[in-house]
């Protein structure tokens, strides 16, 4: 009986383990991409990654986390290439030598949304900073991501420029992704800052209108950076560079340009390969 049990167990284990472990792949054929949740949640990477894998023969492991974590992982050598959207933070990593060859890939924009009755009276204001000042002055509820993501980083920079320290019962930190944060803002009838792509994806469930948009500080710029091989012994610089180059190739940029039109009637991202921050 003991032997029969052992035999059955080893058979089951023998059947299960190899099928999910698979042969060990050569390390240089794997590229780890650390990126933000918005590129994954919008569905863009589901289109681009298979294209790259087919073209290069490499396997991409996409780790989609907040921009803060994406850059932190890369700085530890736990990724080979990073696609992020927090220019200030990115430049800091580049200056420190952790990341290199930062190149702009695409942009979309952020919008400020809020309850239709607009208690802070910000509808149509041309400047996002003025809108934030009025929200703070009127102590109107505002939901912040609070998660060190690219969106949160931009939001904090805006508060700083507006000369406001966001604090108090009106300032709610969700600590969650954009989708969940939109849900909370909708439920609490609060203002929030969101990227347009996620906002469009949630239109069915969120009935807060766009109140402020199209201001230069609200541009949401995505850049690709390669990881410095000195960050860790197993960084794959060739693979990282191949993916970064792919993101800027004309064919890829064409795919980005039309992405989202079929689903939302408008593109979600504007490709900007070759441009600099100052050009936008």
């Amino acid at each position: 009986m003991v032997t029969r049990f052992a035999a059955v167990l080893s058979l089951v284990l023998a059947g299960l383990l190899p099928s999910i472990t698979g042969p060990a792949e050569a390390q240089s054929s794997i590229v780890i991409l650390s990126t933000t949740t918005s590129t994954q949640d919008s569905g863009l990477l589901d289109v681009l990654v298979p294209l790259f894998e087919k073209k290069s023969g490499l396997t991409v492991k996409t780790i989609s986390v907040g921009t803060g974590q994406a850059l932190a992982l890369a700085a530890r050598g736990e990724a080979d290439v990073t696609l992020a959207h927090a220019p200030g933070l990115e430049k800091k990593y580049v200056t420190e030598g952790r990341m290199s060859n930062r190149r702009l890939v695409m942009y979309n924009d952020f919008v400020v949304i809020g309850p239709p009755d607009d208690p802070a009276k910000i509808k149509g204001l041309p400047k996002a900073l003025d809108a934030l000042k009025r929200i703070a002055e009127s102590q109107s509820r505002f939901v912040s991501r609070g998660d060190k993501s690219g969106t949160h980083t931009l939001e904090l920079a805006l508060w700083k420029q507006a000369g406001v320290e966001p604090k108090g019962a009106w300032y709610i930190e969700s600590g969650q992704g954009m989708g969940q944060t939109l849900g909370i803002a909708n439920d609490r009838r609060a203002y929030t800052l969101t990227d347009r792509a996620t906002f469009l994806a949630f239109q069915k469930r969120v009935d807060l209108p766009i109140l402020v948009e199209k201001d230069r500080p609200l541009l949401n710029i995505y850049s690709v950076m390669e990881v410095n091989p000195a960050n860790g012994p197993r960084v794959n610089p060739k693979g990282g560079k191949a993916f970064a180059d792919f993101m800027l190739a004309p064919e890829t940029q064409a795919v980005i340009k039309s992405f989202g039109v079929d689903r939302y009637g408008q593109p979600l991202f504007v490709p900007v390969a070759g441009k600099k921050d100052e050009d936008l």
């Binding site: 003991v2 589901d46 492991k61 996409t62 780790i63 736990e78 989708g179 969940q180 994806a201 197993r234």
Partner: protein, 231 residues
């Protein structure tokens, strides 16, 4: 119809149409959690039985450790194992992070104390006299342990169910260790988190219903084994 009704319908539709991605995700969930549960049985049954039958200084302390381990938060396990498996981590040379094997390791760490603790309790509830009688009748120690385990098989199957239930439903460790990579390490729980984040609540609900369904089927089969022999 409400959102939940839509979710149930969507679940049935996905299962009926045999959506390949949903099937692949469901199959991987089952594989990873079954492998982790089996490994935790291989480790936990002997460890639990040994702990139940031995007496040594510090035993009470070890038992407390095992009992604490039964409630290990998956996200804490995920964090520790992730750091070990990092490229620069102690076990980085294995290159296991973001693979199903990494998820099996994490789930094993979660399930092993559950199986050990419940085995310990199951074996200990068999009366001492029974054990002494067997030894008195000339049973070897191994034979005695085997009879004890058979005697305790009902609570032992409960250990299997608790271990499997604990790992198939956890999301924290699988998310960190697997990375929720499409086609490679995406399982039902991590896919549910992703679809919720995307605002696809109907698909998220459908995945949840599938998860509940397979958890029920596995437990139903185990309960059948557990209760069937009594009838």
């Amino acid at each position: 119809m409400g959102l939940i009704g839509e979710g149930v319908l969507e679940a049935l539709r996905l299962l009926a149409t045999g959506d390949p991605e949903v099937w692949q995700i469901t199959w991987l969930s089952l594989q990873v959690s079954a492998a982790a549960t089996l490994l935790s049985l291989v480790f936990g049954i002997p460890a639990g039985a040994a702990l139940a039958l031995s007496r040594f200084p510090g035993r009470a302390f070890v038992v407390s450790l095992v009992n604490t381990g039964m409630g290990l938060p998956p996200v804490v396990v995920g964090l520790f194992v992730t750091i070990l498996l990092w490229r620069n981590g102690a076990l980085g040379f294995l290159e296991l992070l973001y693979t199903p094997s990494a998820m099996v390791i994490g789930q094993f760490v979660i399930a092993a104390p559950i199986v050990t603790g419940l085995t310990l309790a199951a074996v200990q509830q068999v009366p001492d006299r029974f054990r002494l009688q067997m030894l008195g009748l000339g049973a070897s120690r191994l034979q005695m342990i085997w009879v004890l385990l058979k005697e305790a098989r009902l609570p032992m199957l409960a250990a299997v169910m608790a271990g499997f239930g604990g790992v198939i439903s956890e999301v924290g460790a699988s998310m960190m260790l697997g990375g929720n990579i499409k086609g490679a390490t995406r399982v039902l729980t991590t896919a549910t988190v992703l679809e919720t984040g995307k605002g696809n609540f109907d698909i998220a609900l459908a995945l949840s219903v599938i998860l509940l369904l397979i958890t029920f089927l596995v437990n139903w089969a185990l309960s059948f084994i557990q209760q069937g022999r009594r009838a």
